[in-house]
Amino acid sequence: MADYEARTSSGARRPRPISPHLQIYRPMLTMVMSIVHRITGSALYFGMLLLAWWLIAAASGPNAYANVEWFMGSLIGQLILFGYTWALLHHMLGGIRHLVWDTLHGFDPADREWMTVATLVGSIGLTVALWVVGYLAMGGPR
């Protein structure tokens, strides 16, 4: 770390002035979404362990595969998978938003606001829709 302290003429330590940072701003949706993009990215990073576990189990044999299916079917497993689905879709839609911004479009206050809301509504809506499809693919209500 850089040394943020300086000495006054009398030799006493005096903290260096630091420019204002996040804490002085009112949280806004676009700002929250920016950090959520990183958080979902980090979650997906470690979530790749689940994909690796699933694939290795499939390659290992029926017993290992049954263990994965048991875990994914448990309450905690389902919660993790639901969160994983949302994180994946949110990171994907947020990424598309960033790609639009890379073309220098969508920086108006109105544009960036609706794109942000669309990312959130879209990710939640798509997650629920995918789980309904998945539920039906599993055989629906039994």
């Binding site: 770390m1 990183r38 990215g41 980090s42 997906l44 990073y45 790749m48 362990l49 994909l51 690796a52 694939l55 290795i56 499939a58 390659a59 044999g61 029926p62 595969y65 049954a66 994946l88 994907m92 990424g95 598309i96 960033h98 790609l99 890379d102 995918l130 499809v133 998945g134 693919a137 599993m138 055989g139």
Partner: protein, 129 residues
Amino acid sequence: MTEPMFRTPLRRVRGLGAARSGTGHFWHQRVTSVAGVLLTVALIVIVISLLGRSHAAAVQILGSPLIAILMLLFIINTAYHMWLGMQEIILDYVHEDKWKFLALMSNTFFVSVVGLASAFAILKLSFGV
């Protein structure tokens, strides 16, 4: 002495900056994100098609050429994308050299192991034995 007007900033980028890679990190992140959108859609379709199936059926589907190729593309693309992304997060938040280099190394180790293990599983499902 000022530079002639017809000189563009490109001249300064020729040296590619202190990291000698210019905008490579940014560009690779973008390329893998575009590919990631397409491959994520493919992954979702594959996973849903596997729901509720037996191990034997899952092995057959995951090991079939088209599915295996898509899965391998997803794994390789995602591994590189997440390596770049985590590197950026580490460089943003970890400033003490000791922890920074430890984190950067861990990032490479984690991505290598997870990526290779996943890819190996797909190859084994494809080629059998």
